[in-house]
Every structure is written in C-alpha cells, then in structure tokens.
C-alpha cells in the first residue's frame, strides 16, 4: 500500500518539489495543532478560569519582560498566544473547510446541471447566482445571521454562530464554482466524446460525473484552493467588520481583529503573531493547491 503511494506519479512529483514539501509540512503541522489543540495547548481560551488577567500583555519570551511560560506572549486578557492560536486555527480551519466543501458541492452540482440541461433550469440557477452575486459576502453573512436570529431563540443562536458563519461563507462562495462549472460544460458538452456518450444513452448524471467533471478539475481545483483561503480570510474580514464571531470564540480572524486594536500600542505580538500564522496557513494551502493542480493534471504526465 505504502509502496504504491510512494511509487505513484503524484508522489514522485511531490518529492521533487521542495515548496510543496514545506507547504505540506506547514499545513500538516497546523492541522495537527488544530486537531489536537485541546491536548497540546497549555490553556483553554474558552475556559475563563484557565487564564488570568494578571498575565495580560506579556511580550514573547525573548523580549524584555517576557515569561518563559508564554513563549509568544499573552493578549489583553492574559491568554497564552500559542494556545489561542491553536484553538483559533481549529475554528478557522473547521469553518473554512466545511464552507469550502458545501460551496463546492452546491456550486459544482448546480453549475454542471445548469450547463448540461440548459434552458429554463439554467436560467433559474443563473438568476439565483446573480442574486447571490449581487449580495456581497458581508451582506449574505448579515442575512443568514439575521434569519437565524429571527428563527432561533437567542440562547441557541450563540452556540450556532459558527454554523451561521460557515453557511454564510459557503453561500457567498458557491457561485464561483457554479459559473466555472457551467462555462466549462458549455465548452465540453459540444465535444465529440461527450456527444458520443450522450448518444450512447448514458444517464446524464453519469455523463457529468465521468466525462465532464474530470475535465474541469483543473479550474475547479484552483478555485477550491483559492476559496479555502478566501473562506478563512472572509471569516477574518467579517470578524473585523464586527459581524463574525464574538470575542469569546477566538478564530484566527477574531484574534486579528482584537490585535488590530494594538497595532500601534507597542504590543505588536497580539496582532502580528496570529496574522503571521494566518498568512503561513493560507500561503501553504495555496502552494499545495497549485501543486495538486499540476499533479492531477493528466496532460502533465
């Protein structure tokens, strides 16, 4: 099994790409850190009793006044930066990945179907897409948040803010997939092999899945990577505008938003540590995405 992976083309290419290896290592480390945050972080930023205001604003260990207990310092509440970031990455990646998956499934599904069937179905889907596009992500987030607030009691809503935000982000991303998928279907549909498959009476679902989808994997993978990164950044932006997550669920975006207040105050680590971390995470994802696109492209082999 291992041997098969080891000798596969993709892995062969992977071994030859230092950038991809570094990116994969970074992403894997962050992912592990995120998954195992509750076991490796020294304090839990959700648990008010696990940190103390007395430890607030400690700089990183190598600076004057830093403490070896908090290697990257503490924030205004006395929370250990490393722990906050691990938990933050956990939340951000969860939101990003789930939102990206929802957006992909929804967008590709609708886009393929719209392109394949055309006509009225196409028109309806594309007009829905227009509506979606006309509502910038920020507004979608406000809308979903608003609907949730109207439907759910406020005590429940607080626990569902992550879900609400995820859905909002997913909804603001699916159109990219749909339009790309649809545009490609238009092109692919008229090609002989698809026509042949259709004439041979293959079921539409099969035609789309087996003939059209693989041919648009390239652009889709690009969008998926860009969108995973976008989803994570979008969460940060929404939190910056004050319509994301509350301060007591520290995603990376919330940490950066809190840190923005300390941009000039001298407590640089509160902003730059999570920002740097976010940048490393997003850059790694993007590099990996580029690599995957090349690796899975049959024409490259």
């Amino acid at each position: 099994m291992f041997a098969r992976i080891w000798h596969s083309d993709a892995f062969w290419m992977f071994r030859r790409s230092p950038a991809a290896i570094v990116a994969a290592l970074c992403a894997a480390l962050i992912l592990c850190g995120a998954i195992f945050a509750p076991w490796i972080a020294q304090s839990n930023p959700y648990d008010l009793s696990s940190f103390s205001l007395m430890d607030g604003f400690l700089p990183p260990a190598w600076e004057d006044g830093g403490s070896s207990r908090f290697w990257l310092g503490t924030d205004d509440q006395g929370r250990d930066m490393i722990s906050s970031i691990l938990y933050g990455a956990r939340l951000s990646m969860l939101i990003g990945i789930v939102a990206m998956i929802i957006a992909t499934v929804l967008g590709v599904g609708l886009g393929l179907a719209a392109g394949y069937y055309g006509g009225r179905f196409d028109a309806i889907v594309m007009r829905i897409a227009d509506v979606q596009l006309a509502l910038p992500a920020i507004l979608t987030a406000l809308l979903i948040d608003g609907i949730a607030r109207g439907v759910l009691p406020s005590s429940m809503l607080e626990n569902l803010r992550v879900v609400v935000l995820t859905i909002a982000i997913a909804l603001s991303l699916w159109v990219n997939f749909a339009r790309t998928a649809r545009a490609s279907v238009f092109v692919e549909k008229n090609k002989e092999y698809v026509q042949a498959a259709m004439i041979m009476g293959q079921r539409p679902f099969r035609v789309m899945m087996w003939h059209i989808l693989p041919n648009i994997m390239g652009p889709l993978l690009v969008i998926m990577t860009v969108d995973l990164a976008s989803a994570i950044l979008l969460e940060a932006t929404l939190s910056f505008l004050g319509i994301g997550l509350p301060a007591d669920s520290p995603s990376l975006g919330t940490l950066i938003r809190i840190g923005m207040g300390f941009l000039l105050s001298g407590e640089w680590w509160i902003l730059w540590v999570p920002t740097l971390f976010l940048v490393i995470l997003v850059v790694s994802i993007n590099i990996l995405g580029d690599f995957l696109r090349d690796a899975f492209n049959p024409r490259l082999h």
Binding site: A19, A123, R127, D130, V131, L133, A134, L135, P136, A137, I138, L139, L142, L143, D145, G146, I147, R149, G150, V175, N176, R179, T180, A183, F186, V187, N190, G218, P219, V222, V226, A229, L233, A236, T237, F240, L241, G253, I256, M260, L263, L264, T275, L278, V279, L281, V282, V283, N286, I287, D290, R293, N297, R299, L300
Partner: protein, 324 residues
C-alpha cells in the same frame, strides 16, 4: 439577439425584486432604527410614535410593498438618519466607489494578465516563482491589514500619500471625479492598491492556470510542430483561448471589487457607497441599505448581462445554439 437581451432584462427585473425582498427581510434583524434615531431621554411614548410614523409597526409585507412600490416610481425615500433623499445620497457616493473599483480592476488586469502569462510561459523561472510567492503572501493577508499597513507606511512614515478621504475631486456635471487632479490621484492610489491586490492575484493565477492548460492542448502542440512562431502562438492562439474564463472572472471580480470596497472604504474613510452602507448598518438606516442593495443588484445584473453577451460573441458555437 434582441430577443435574448429582452429575455435577460425581464429575468433581471425578477432578480432585482428578489434581491430587494431578501434585503428588506434582513433589515428587521439588523437592529432597531428608532433606538438609533432618538436620544437617551426620549420617552417610550415618543419612540412608539416615531415607530408608527415610520411604518415600522406595519406587517412586514406591507412595508415591503410600500418600499418596492415607491422604488418603482423612482421614489427612493429618505434616510432615517440624516433625512436626506436616499437617491441623492447614493448618487453622490456612486462616483467614488465606481472610480475606486474601476481603477483597482484596471490595476489587477494590467498587472495580473501579463504576470499570469509570464508565469505560465516560464513556470520554473526564478522571477516567476518570486512573483507567485509575493502574490501568494499578498493575497493571504486580510484586506484590512494591508490597508492599515499601507496607510502607516506611505501615509505616516514616508508621508507621501494622504491617509484618508478623497481629495481633489472635480465636479463634472454631477459626477465628481478624482482623475483630473494630482491630489485626486494621490488619494486614489492607496485604496486602489489595497482593493486591487486580491483581484490581481486572482486574475494572475487564473490566467496562468488557463494559459498552461491551453499550452498543453493538442492544437497548440500541433501548431508548435508545424513551426508557428512562438510569439504568434502564445499571444494569438493561446491567449485567445484563455479569454473565455478570464472574462467570466472579470465579471465576477466586479462583484468582488464592490464587496471588498466596503472594507477598503471603511479603512480609508473613502466616501463611497460601501462606507455609506456600513454607516447605515451601524445606524439601522433601512431606506439607505435597501436602495444600496438594489443599486448593487442592478449593477451586477448589467455586468452579468454583458459577460454573457461576450461569451456569445467569443465562442461561435454558443451563437449557433442560441439562434436555434
């Protein structure tokens, strides 16, 4: 073709109605306008009276019908906050957003397309790798952080460019433009760069991906084999074939530009529609939010229509199909 346009316009009308409906239904969740309109000492009774006067106690569907009814008649209503006519407010802010968005888009295309082509043609070169890395980092920093960094670098430390606002505008018959004065350009640079970075990366990556795809396709290989000169090969055959998705993306990007301009405008205190919208959220200024959304929807509908028309123009196969 005329039939197609008419059909799309009719559909567009329903799109806008849907946007208006969605937009309007979210307003009652944004907050309570009356609390934002009155002072601390205003009595409960006076607040209730104001609520009545604004029609906020009417059933939702009545409010929506009144809003769209007025809208269709060209009556955009008055802002709760400043009592100004909303149409006038939006019209005054529109040039700022459009000029910012256009300039940002131009930056992203002028830099993004050549960079995308270059990195596709020399994928392993040092320059290509550097460009890719720089844009990757650029796109990985949240827009608001980039904006603040630019402000502090070029506005405060180097003091080359203004830190906020839109100076040096010239009024051209109701359209205030930044393009005619040096001050205007100076104010425009930082926000447009902030807004353009993300779009630039997206454009570049897309052009690159598409170009590489096309370059590997059989007909390019045949052309290479036939000895078609490289220049002609790349810029005529290959580029033409990358344009379909690129046009889609430009269309889509205009959406991105408008969405992200909300953030950029807020960071740079750029007096555009996005800033107006954020303020109206803060003060629960329902008429302003409503009209803003409908205007944006109108915008998108037009852009999408143009994009779809271009598809047909570029890809002859689609033209045949639509005619049939």
């Amino acid at each position: 073709m005329v039939y197609l346009i008419l059909k799309r316009l009719l559909q567009s009308f329903f799109v806008m109605l849907a946007v208006a409906f969605l937009a309007f239904s979210l307003f009652r969740f944004v907050g309570d306008p009356v609390s934002q309109m009155t002072g601390v000492e205003t009595s409960v009774e006076d607040r209730e009276r104001l609520r009545d006067e604004l029609g906020l106690n009417d059933p939702f569907i009545f409010q929506f019908a009144r809003f769209t009814g007025d809208l269709v008649q060209g009556d955009f209503g008055f802002s709760y906050r400043t009592r100004e006519p909303v149409g006038e407010m939006i019209a005054k802010r529109l040039p700022a957003t459009l000029e910012l968005g256009t300039f940002a888009l131009v930056i992203s295309l002028v830099v993004g397309i050549p960079a995308g082509i270059y990195t596709a043609l020399r994928p392993r070169g040092f320059v290509s790798q550097s460009i890719l890395l720089v844009t990757l980092v650029g796109v990985s920093i949240p827009t608001f952080v980039i904006g603040i960094i630019l402000i502090f670098l070029f506005g405060v430390q180097l003091a080359w460019l203004p830190t906020f606002g839109r100076n040096g505008t010239v009024d051209l018959g109701g359209w205030s433009t930044s393009f005619l004065t040096l001050d205007g350009w100076r104010s425009l640079i930082l926000p447009a760069m902030t807004l353009g970075v993300y779009q630039l990366t997206l454009t570049m990556r897309l052009v690159r991906a598409q170009m590489m795809e096309v370059l590997r396709s059989d007909y390019i290989r045949f052309a290479t084999a036939r000895g078609v000169p490289y220049r002609q090969l790349y810029f005529k055959h290959a580029l033409a074939n990358t344009m379909v998705p690129v046009i889609t993306i430009i269309g889509l990007q205009f959406g991105g530009v408008v969405a992200f301009s909300i953030v950029t405008e807020s960071v740079f205190q750029w007096p555009g529609m996005g800033l107006l919208f954020l303020e109206s959220i803060r003060f629960v200024d329902i008429p302003v939010m409503g009209v803003y959304l409908v205007v944006i929807a109108f915008f998108f509908v037009i852009v999408n229509l143009v994009v779809d028309m271009l598809y047909v123009a570029i890809d002859p196969r689609l033209r045949v199909k639509e005619a049939a």
